[in-house]
């Protein structure tokens, strides 16, 4: 596994934004993740694929310490953001989650106005010193999330009144508003129709390079479309990690091949 990761890294010039080394997760006695090592880059979208229960979401949640909220979860190994251990005692978790944002499977806008949904983060993190500055952040975030043109005339409408796809883009705008470095997306399109899905995929492509993006998806074609790197998880193990084109046309591991060609079980 180590050599495979190394060879996959060889094609990238930039420093990784996040690195994970030998990350293990235990839920009580049960081990959910068996030593995962992976690098995440800003100029590449990384897709995590694998059957349900394979550990991909568990691992994703380690990257911004979402597993902290689960009492029984214990994490071993080292995860660094820009070279700093995110599990270090002096790490401010609230700050970390601003730097490593998350978008969930089901769009979850706050039951507030569209404007407030986006303005909330910058406000609590003190990113804007005036109303004008906050307005600018809200607009820029909505523009980057490709939602601005659809909502600019009704910013005071409730976020929950938007369509599912719009809500998801609102959630992406909300994540972008606090100027994160990494955006984690946990099956962001599974509740969306194909058009809304296409818009999110287009958006992911636009955001690549500005943010390191990690996406968990059950849709193999989606992983093939949006990502440049794909990691295949199975039974808590990172089976294969490499260039997306290679994984989907000529995977090295039999288990990867069986999974992506629909021969599992």
């Amino acid at each position: 596994m180590a050599t495979m990761t190394a060879s996959a890294e060889a094609t990238v010039s930039s420093q990784p934004k996040m690195t994970a080394r030998d990350v293990k997760v235990f839920y009580g006695e049960k081990q959910a993740l068996n030593g995962v090592s992976i690098d995440v880059h800003t100029d590449l979208v990384t897709a995590f694929i694998g059957p349900s229960g394979c550990g991909k979401s568990t691992f994703l949640r380690c990257l911004n310490r979402m597993n902290d909220t689960i009492d029984a979860a214990r994490i071993v190994g080292r995860i660094e953001l820009e070279g700093h251990d995110i599990y270090a005692p002096d790490m401010d978790v609230v700050q970390l989650r601003a730097r490593v944002g998350m978008v969930f499977q089901k769009p979850n806008p706050f039951p507030k106005s569209i404007y407030e949904n986006v303005a909330y983060g910058p406000r609590i993190h003190g990113l804007a010193s005036s109303k004008a500055e906050l307005d600018a952040i809200v607009e820029q975030s909505l523009v980057r999330a490709s939602l601005w043109n659809e909502v600019k005339d009704r910013l005071q409408d409730s976020g929950t009144a938007l369509s599912g796809g719009q809500q998801q883009r609102l959630c992406i705008a909300r994540a972008i508003a606090v100027d994160p470095e990494v955006i984690l997306m946990d099956e962001p399109c599974s509740a969306l129709d194909p058009i809304a899905t296409a818009k999110i995929e287009e958006l992911i492509d636009d955001l690549r390079g500005r943010y390191a993006i990690v996406i968990v998806t059950h849709n193999m074609q989606q992983a093939a479309r949006v990502s440049q790197r794909t990691a295949f998880f199975h039974l808590g193990t990172l089976v294969e990690y490499g260039d997306t084109a290679e994984i989907f046309t000529n995977p090295r591991e039999q288990r990867t091949k069986d999974y992506i060609t629909g021969r599992f079980g």
């Binding site: 989907f248 000529n250 990867t256 069986d258 060609t261 629909g262 021969r263």
Partner: protein, 244 residues
């Protein structure tokens, strides 16, 4: 690598792939038969047998259309990936190549009428020899496909050299022959086209072998370390002679 893969969770996907392989097998068998029968007709100077070859060609074209439809439907329905994807694309490419092989056999058969009108010419003896090698290459390329056997594919791929050598020697023999007597020009030219068609069939068998190798392994056969340069030099020399 060349073992039969385990079944898909969706059974009808396996059925689609099996059907594609059957069609390729049927089509390939027909084309190989066409090559053999066209050469037999040339050797026997049998215009009737040649006509039968010409008339059989549309069957190959029809199967090619079937392969194309099924391959497109499979891609649309299943969105195949990895070896499945390579397999479907291979079927599509191979069917096009087989169709071309059929066309060359047909073209050779069409020449029998003219050949039969002239007296037999000496260099003709090389043609059945060359045809035997080419036909075996087609056969083995299809076998390699049916068995997903990359080693047999590589073997076929290597044999293309000897076909080129046959062609070059026949080319020289025919040139000399034509220079001896202008009456030999018409039958010799037909013979040259026939040999060239056989040489092209050999190239196509080689193409099939390349596709099979990639489909089975995900790797490309490395660039041909073949006598391409020799072939080029030879033909250049000969062209020089022609000008003189």
């Amino acid at each position: 690598m060349n073992t039969t893969p385990t079944a898909h969770t969706v059974k009808s996907f396996d059925e689609d792939l099996r059907q594609l392989r059957l069609l390729i097998g049927e089509m390939g068998g027909l084309a190989k038969d066409q090559v053999d029968r066209s050469v037999a007709a040339i050797v026997a100077r049998d215009a009737e047998a040649a006509q039968a070859v010409v008339q059989s060609d549309p069957r190959i074209d029809r199967i090619e259309a079937e392969v194309e439809q099924l391959a497109i439907a499979t891609i649309a329905r299943r969105a195949p990936l990895a070896d499945d994807l390579r397999e479907v694309i291979a079927a599509l490419k191979i069917s096009a190549v087989i169709e071309r092989i059929g066309d060359y056999a047909k073209n050779n058969a069409k020449r029998v009428n003219s050949i039969a009108q002239d007296s037999p010419i000496r260099p003709m003896v090389i043609v059945p020899e060359m045809a035997r090698i080419v036909s075996q290459m087609v056969d083995d390329a299809l076998d390699a496909y049916a068995r997903r056997d990359p080693e047999l594919a590589r073997d076929v791929w290597k044999r293309d050299n000897s076909v080129d050598e046959y062609y070059n020697s026949l080319f020289r023999a025919l040139l000399t022959f034509m220079m001896e007597n202008p009456h030999h020009i018409t039958p010799s030219t037909h013979m040259l086209f026939i040999a060239k068609n056989l040489e092209r069939i050999g190239d196509h068998a080689t193409n099939i072998a390349e596709v099979v190798y990639y489909s089975a392994t995900g790797e490309h056969l490395t660039d041909r370390q073949k006598a391409d340069e020799t072939v080029y030099t030879v033909s250049e020399d000969v062209e020089g002679e022609q000008e003189r």
